[in-house]
Symmetry: C2
C-alpha cells in the first residue's frame, strides 16, 4: 500500500493511514481482494512490482540510470502533447535531499530517506503567465500518472524498485522549491535497490514488504457496454 | 499527438485540434522540442511507442491478450490501494462497439473504429452512496493514468499498438453505459495491430503516423531542489 498524504480524503472518521488500512480490511466482505496468483499472462515486470520499504541505503544511482528513468517519463503520451509534468530530483546525500527530506511525514521518514533518490512530481493546474505558455489540459494529473508509470517501468527494467508516496508537506515543498502557482506538487517517488532477503535491514519494513498484494477482482473494474456488467473474456 | 476532446482548455482563441497543433509549432522558439534520437538508454518498448492511426481492421484481439492488458491496469499502484479506475471494453464488431463508436468525434471516427478494441476509461471522483464504499482519493485521475500506462506497456509487449484519445461525447457515453455520478468518463484507448508499411491502409493516417515525435528537452522538466533549475545528470 502506498503511503498516504494529507490530500487523501476519507469517508470514515479515522485520520491515520493505519486506521484507513484497517478500515479497508473490514470492508473486504463487499469487495474481496484477490492475491497476485490469479493473474496469468501479466508481464513479470508488472507482476512483480511492489512498493517496497526495504531500500539499500548504500546503493548509489548512476547518472545514466536516473537519466533513463526521466527520459521514460519524458516520452510518455499526453493530451495534445501538452507534457504537463515536472520533477524535482533529490539524490541521497546531495543538497536537494538534505532540504527536502525534512518535509516527509513521520511515517515516510522511517524508510524513504534510505532510497537512492527521491523524485517529487508536479503537474500543471493552470496556464502560465507567459503569453506563449504551454496550454493547460484537464488531463494533467492523468498524464503525470502515465509519466510516473513509465518512469517506474524503466526503473524496474534497470533492476531497481519504486515506492510512491504522498505523505509529505506539499505546501512546504512548493515554498522551498519555488514552485510557480500554476503547478501542483503531487507525489513523491522513492527509487533504489531493494535489500536482498539475507541482507540486514529494518525488520518492520521487511515485515510490511512481505504482506501479500491484493486487488479487486477484474469483474469489478472491467465492464462491457454497461458499467457494472463484467466484460466477457471468454 | 493524441486526439483532443472537448474538456481540453486552450489559452488561444483557436478551437480546433489542428489550430492548436499549429500554435504549438509557432511557440517552439521558447520551448524547442527535440526528437527521439536524443534519448539513449530508454527501453525500446517505451522509445518506440507512438500513437498510431494505422490499425489493421481485420485483426482480432485474443481473449488472453485483452485479459493480460486489463490485469496490467489492475495491478497498477494507487493511493492507499484505492484502485479508483474502471474500464468499458468494446471489441470491433460486438454490441458495445456498435453502441459506443457513434459517440466518437468526427476526427476519431476516421481511424479509431478500425482498432481491434476501444477501451473507455473512468476514474472515481467522489465516494459512492454505499456505506462501505471504497474511499475516494484526490489521486484518482493520476492513478487512472498509471493504470492506463501499465495497460499500454502490456499491449506493447504483446506487439500491439495503443492510441489514446479524448475526443468523444463523454456525457453521452456516461448516459449510454449507465455510469454512476461518482465516476467520471476520462479517455478512450484504441488497441490493435499496426499495419505494416507494405500493407494497404489509409494514406492520411499513414502520413500523420510518420511525423516525428517531439518532446520538451529534459532540462525543462527535470529539476533539482529548485523548480526551473535543471538537475545535474553528470
Amino acid at each position: 500500500m502506498p503511503s498516504l498524504g494529507r490530500p487523501f480524503r476519507r469517508t470514515s472518521r479515522s485520520t491515520s493511514a493505519e486506521g484507513w488500512a484497517r478500515e479497508q480490511e473490514r470492508t473486504s466482505t463487499r469487495s474481496p481482494r484477490v492475491t497476485l496468483d490469479a493473474s496469468p499472462g501479466l508481464l513479470p515486470l508488472l507482476r512483480e512490482r511492489r512498493s517496497t520499504r526495504s531500500f539499500d541505503e548504500t546503493h548509489v544511482l548512476a547518472d545514466d540510470e536516473l537519466r533513463a528513468m526521466l527520459e521514460a517519463a519524458r516520452w510518455a503520451p499526453s493530451a495534445g502533447n501538452s507534457q504537463p509534468w515536472a520533477f524535482l530530483v533529490a539524490r541521497r546525500g546531495d543538497a536537494a535531499h538534505q532540504r527536502l527530506v525534512p518535509l516527509l511525514s513521520r511515517g515516510n521518514q522511517s524508510w524513504a530517506p534510505r532510497a537512492s533518490a527521491l523524485v517529487f512530481t508536479l503537474h500543471q493546474v493552470a496556464s502560465g503567465p507567459e503569453e506563449d505558455a504551454l496550454t493547460y489540459s484537464d488531463y494533467a494529473a492523468y498524464d503525470l500518472g502515465q509519466a510516473v508509470a513509465q518512469l517506474s517501468v524503466q526503473a524496474l527494467a534497470l533492476g531497481l524498485v519504486v515506492h510512491q508516496f504522498a505523505g509529505f508537506d506539499h505546501e512546504g515543498l512548493a515554498a522551498q522549491a519555488g514552485v510557480p502557482r500554476h503547478w501542483q506538487v503531487t507525489t513523491g517517488v522513492a527509487l533504489g535497490r531493494e535489500l536482498a532477503a539475507d541482507e540486514p535491514g529494518d525488520t518492520g519494513a521487511r515485515e510490511r514488504d512481505r504482506r501479500p498484494r491484493t486487488r479487486k477482482p477484474l469483474a469489478e473494474l472491467a465492464f462491457g457496454a454497461t458499467f457494472g456488467e463484467p466484460v466477457d473474456l471468454g
